[in-house]
């Protein structure tokens, strides 16, 4: 065997030992790539880092919390791809609501609800005896009450709001009725509260939507083809629910929980959803706006006949 062939064989042996051959021989992976069929979609993050909850505010604008960036952003419904930073939060913001005078933001770090004035200056902080996880908020303008899902305790808390001041008037839920509540929607006219709940499969409790009246009386349990129910909103007699795992907004019958349709699809392309967290319905543009968490965007979805 000539020196050239011998050198070539040694070189091939060396390359084999650095690569998959070594992996097979020693049970250790070389510098090969993993199986691409097991990889998830390629994420090209948008302008936000981790958009969480959103609310429709006055003046045709959407306010949204960005959990990781610790900011509240403002989104123009006609340009949802260009969110504008409104103010920062000292901690990780969760739920958000607005009443025309103030913006209420759940603060996961401090366990409170921070109250911000119109110019984004923090003017007050709402606390209860134990730290809250104000996962979702909604303001009932008729009664001037702030409804809060407290994921940590786990219950729904109702605060009476007078200008910038708030006091808890009553709460309901707790273990036995709610397990891991996430999102909240109000039907102010029917005086009903819809609460999405992850449940706990380790103890045999499935994900569900629990419906209560405003006095805290449990009315019904909705189950359906959802597994990670997050934010929800009622519009046009339908219940729109963001399912974080499916990457879709489910359209449900609010009385029975029956699936009437779906909006959006799982993925990273424009219009697709990856870990959708919340929905808000803009009746002027007839569009749903979704916090598209892993894609870092607010994504609008057109609703045919809400």
């Amino acid at each position: 065997m000539s020196r050239g062939i011998r050198t070539g064989c040694l070189l091939l042996l060396l390359l084999w030992s650095l690569g998959g051959g070594q992996a097979m021989a020693m049970g250790m992976g070389g510098f090969g790539s993993p199986d691409p069929t097991l990889a998830g979609p390629v994420i090209a993050p948008g302008p936000l880092t981790a958009p969480m909850r959103l609310t429709l505010a006055g003046g045709q604008r959407i306010l949204a919390t960005d959990y990781n960036a610790q900011v509240v952003v403002e989104v123009n419904p006609s340009r949802p791809d260009r969110p504008r930073r409104l103010f920062t939060v000292s901690g990780h913001p969760l739920g958000i609501a607005e009443n025309g005078t103030a913006v209420f933001v759940g603060n996961d770090t401090t366990g409170t609800i921070d109250v911000f004035g119109r110019r984004g200056r923090k003017v007050a902080s709402i606390a209860v005896a134990e730290p809250m996880q104000a996962s979702d908020l909604e303001f009932d303008r008729r009664r001037r009450q702030l409804f809060v899902v407290d994921g940590r305790n786990p219950r729904v808390r109702i605060f009476s709001v007078n200008r910038l001041h708030a006091r808890e008037i009553f709460s309901f839920g707790g273990f036995g009725q709610l397990v891991a509540p996430k999102g909240l929607a109000l039907d102010s006219r029917a005086r009903e509260v819809y609460v999405s709940d992850y449940g706990d499969p380790a103890v045999g409790v499935s994900a569900s939507i629990q419906v209560f009246d405003f006095s805290g009386r449990h009315l019904r349990t909705l189950t359906g083809p959802f597994s990670r129910p997050q934010g929800l909103v009622l519009a046009g007699g339908r219940l729109f629910l963001a399912d974080a795992l499916r990457g879709q907004v489910l359209v449900l019958d609010p009385a029975s929980g029956d699936l009437l349709g779906t909006l959006g699809s799982y993925g990273t392309a424009p219009g697709q959803l990856l870990l959708p967290m919340d929905v808000a319905y803009d009746r002027f543009s007839r569009r749903l706006f979704v916090t598209n968490n892993r894609n870092g965007r607010i994504t609008p979805l057109t609703v045919a006949t809400p």
Binding site: G29, T37, G40, P41, H92, R228, Y266
Partner: protein, 197 residues
């Protein structure tokens, strides 16, 4: 409150039977990770009866920072590369979702760190391992020791086997704990920031 459904009972029984028949004791299922939370017997779109194709989304649907479930976590992506590139460290590349496994020193890891089976390559190991992964490419699978949280240390007490040392050099700030700088300036635990400074 809805109770146990028939399909869940069947799935649970199938999983238990499977584990009993084929798994070693280290493969027992973690109580908090009920089978049906990740797997579907019927109509599962992913491999291994996973109820979703993307394991990262499956994990983050409960553990993403904003969700408020236990053990908030963010992907470790220090070089800010795309999710399909080496150096983007997603959940399954460090964790075994089924249970804690025994490491090369004979103790049991915590926080589900290390795995004995990598579905991405099909390789199996006798003890907990993590694959070295840098922006430049995928390296070998290395034994990983994480029996308690001090093993974030880079003081070479666990030479090359600490959870961070599998990929990162222990010659940087020796005697320090990685998480003192990488994520500690937050009230949340370090993983919620993806271990970034």
């Amino acid at each position: 409150m809805p109770g146990l459904s028939f399909s869940r009972v069947i799935l649970q029984a199938a999983c238990v039977a499977l584990v009993t028949l084929v798994a070693t004791p280290g493969h027992a299922l973690l109580a908090a990770h009920d089978c049906s939370f990740c797997h579907d017997l019927h109509g599962a779109p992913g491999t291994n009866l996973l109820s979703y194709t993307d394991t990262e989304v499956l994990c983050l649907s409960c553990h993403a920072t904003a969700i408020g479930t236990t053990e908030a976590a963010a992907v470790h992506n220090p070089a800010l590369v795309n999710s399909d590139q080496p150096g983007y460290i997603t959940c399954r590349e460090c964790h075994n979702p089924h249970d804690n496994v025994v490491n090369s020193q004979g103790t049991t890891n915590i926080e589900l760190v290390g795995f004995t089976f990598d579905p991405a390559t099909g390789q199996r190991f006798a003890e907990a391992r993590i694959r070295e992964e840098l922006v430049t490419g995928y390296g070998p699978y290395r034994p990983v020791e994480f029996a308690d949280r001090t093993q974030f240390n880079i003081d070479n007490t666990y030479p090359g086997r600490g959870a961070c040392q599998v990929c990162h050099s222990p010659n940087h700030n020796q005697g320090q704990t990685c998480t003192e700088c990488h994520g500690a300036n937050d009230t949340q635990h370090d993983h919620a920031r993806g271990f970034l400074p």
